[in-house]
Symmetry: C2
Subunit: 303 residues, 2 copies
């Protein structure tokens, strides 16, 4: 798949002729860098609201050229949206009128049902060209300077395709993520949002609640002076972007609230053991947690 524009100065064998990345930060910049390093992309265009960020991305070699959304739609074979999830609909609306028929659009948002809704609303008859995606990779660092060609190695990328997506389009997108070193899994958008509510949104919510509670205590500085490495690890995610996480929590509100109910029920059972001096019950609960965590650690490749 090569575009006319790219064909002149690029090996025809590149998996993606022209890639456009909307939002050239950690996620978008790393995708571009990974494909480029593996020789899987011809030309990389970058779009975004901040001219300074695009210029920085160009100087870092992440993109070849800064373009408008219209130019991206007119020139790219593959477009990755890596801007804040709340901007998805607006960006798709700007791309829609100029999108060539073979171009594939995907995204990197942490929630998928809302993105699917935005895609249908913005793209209408062109919705078949949009394949929702979510690379599960760290977001504590931001900006083009954080981009890393190795970010996606051994990471999971979830695709939640629409019924309208063409098989060849899904194959190409899967190959592109695999060239970045990722493992691609496909699932239903609803199942994705429920699973992510559990393993990503709840931990972030609890870490933030805990951090805020400690900080609000009248003796918070005395407390925090005694905080060690356990506190450091447990609260690390609470430092994340308030804007980004507000959007995620709001977008996945139902699944988040439902999962929090389950966590509160589990908390009540564990507290009951402590209240009643049930050392055996407390030990069994802690042992189930420890074994599950150690098993996950040995399997995940992340520990």
């Amino acid at each position: 798949m090569t575009s006319d524009l790219a064909a002149s100065n690029v090996r025809p064998a590149a998996l993606v002729g022209v890639l456009a990345v909307v939002g050239v930060g950690l996620i978008g910049g790393s995708f571009a860098a990974a494909l480029r390093r593996r020789g899987a992309v011809g030309r990389v265009l970058g779009a975004g609201r901040q001219a300074g960020t695009l210029e920085q991305a160009r100087r870092l070699g992440l993109i070849d050229q800064a373009v408008t959304l219209q130019q991206a739609a007119e020139q790219a074979d593959l477009i990755l949206l890596a801007a804040p999830v709340g901007a998805t609909r607006r960006i798709l609306e700007e791309l829609a009128p100029h999108l060539r028929s073979h171009t594939i659009v995907t995204d990197a948002g942490s929630t998928k049902l809302d993105v699917v809704r935005a895609a249908y609303a913005a793209l209408g008859g062109k919705a078949a060209q949009f394949i929702p995606g979510h690379p599960i990779a760290g977001a504590e660092t931001t900006g083009p300077q954080a981009a890393d060609a190795d970010l996606y190695i051994n990471r999971t990328v979830v695709l939640t395709p629409l019924p309208e997506n063409a098989a060849e389009a899904k194959t190409l997108l899967t190959r592109a993520w695999e060239r970045c070193g990722a493992r691609v899994v496909t699932m239903d958008a609803q199942a994705h949002d429920v699973a992510l509510a559990s393993v990503s949104h709840v931990p972030h919510f609890l870490a933030s609640v805990f951090m805020e509670q400690v900080a609000a205590a009248h003796d918070s500085s005395a407390r925090m002076a005694l905080a060690g490495t356990g506190f450091r690890d447990f609260t690390r995610i609470a430092a994340g972007s308030p804007e980004m996480w507000r959007d995620i929590f709001m977008a996945n509100r139902d699944a988040l609230l439902s999962e929090l109910q389950e966590v509160k029920a589990a908390l009540e059972r564990a507290e009951q053991c402590v209240r009643e001096g049930d050392g055996e019950g407390l030990h069994d609960f802690l042992e189930r947690a420890a074994l599950a965590r150690r098993f996950w650690g040995s399997r995940s490749g992340l520990s």
Copy 2:
């Protein structure tokens, strides 16, 4: 301070002539290794229930000799208890009859009110020789092979002295920890237990509750396949020893339960924002958490 036994083969300038460590794992072994590397100790004795562990500690050079508790009491100038906190009273009872009058005994337990009670009960008239302590340093790795002479560099050690402790004894113990690179703070045992309930015991409790809840879900493997680095950091402490943490939670039950009430109230306030679609309230809460975490991270020297 040098013992007769150590005087023959040791520089008289060593801060501690003979050190005995009861429980030669990460905490006790690292204390011995740190003092030895800084030339602050003459001879190191090790006591403990597992002969294999003591032999391993000797081969690793952490201790010079394995001894009984009676021998430790008869020979040491400073004794550090670094065995599980539940064993504190029994160990002190075994040491008590043989303890020389100048010997200082301290401990490394994560809770202090229960240790103070155990010390008075076991030592009676010799309680003045016991200075309760708590080095706040990682406990995810265990055993003599995990011992590290640098473990305490820039870490906090809390001492919660008894009214009976002599000033010179407190000074010597403070100097010993400072030679390990630690920052020593002194506080009341009750204040210690309340602060630790907040910044150590609650995070461990919540991480374990969350981990167990995810593991118990009918679709737990599908969820855990999507878990990323945020999940990894948030749950890391849940892998800790169930025995050790059961003892800590039970020993600090009142402070833990009271602190959990505060966390649940904060959780309810944050959930309310999500339920009511109060994006501004949610953002403000997340921002307070993020700013507090970033500030702590920049100050703690642990991030």
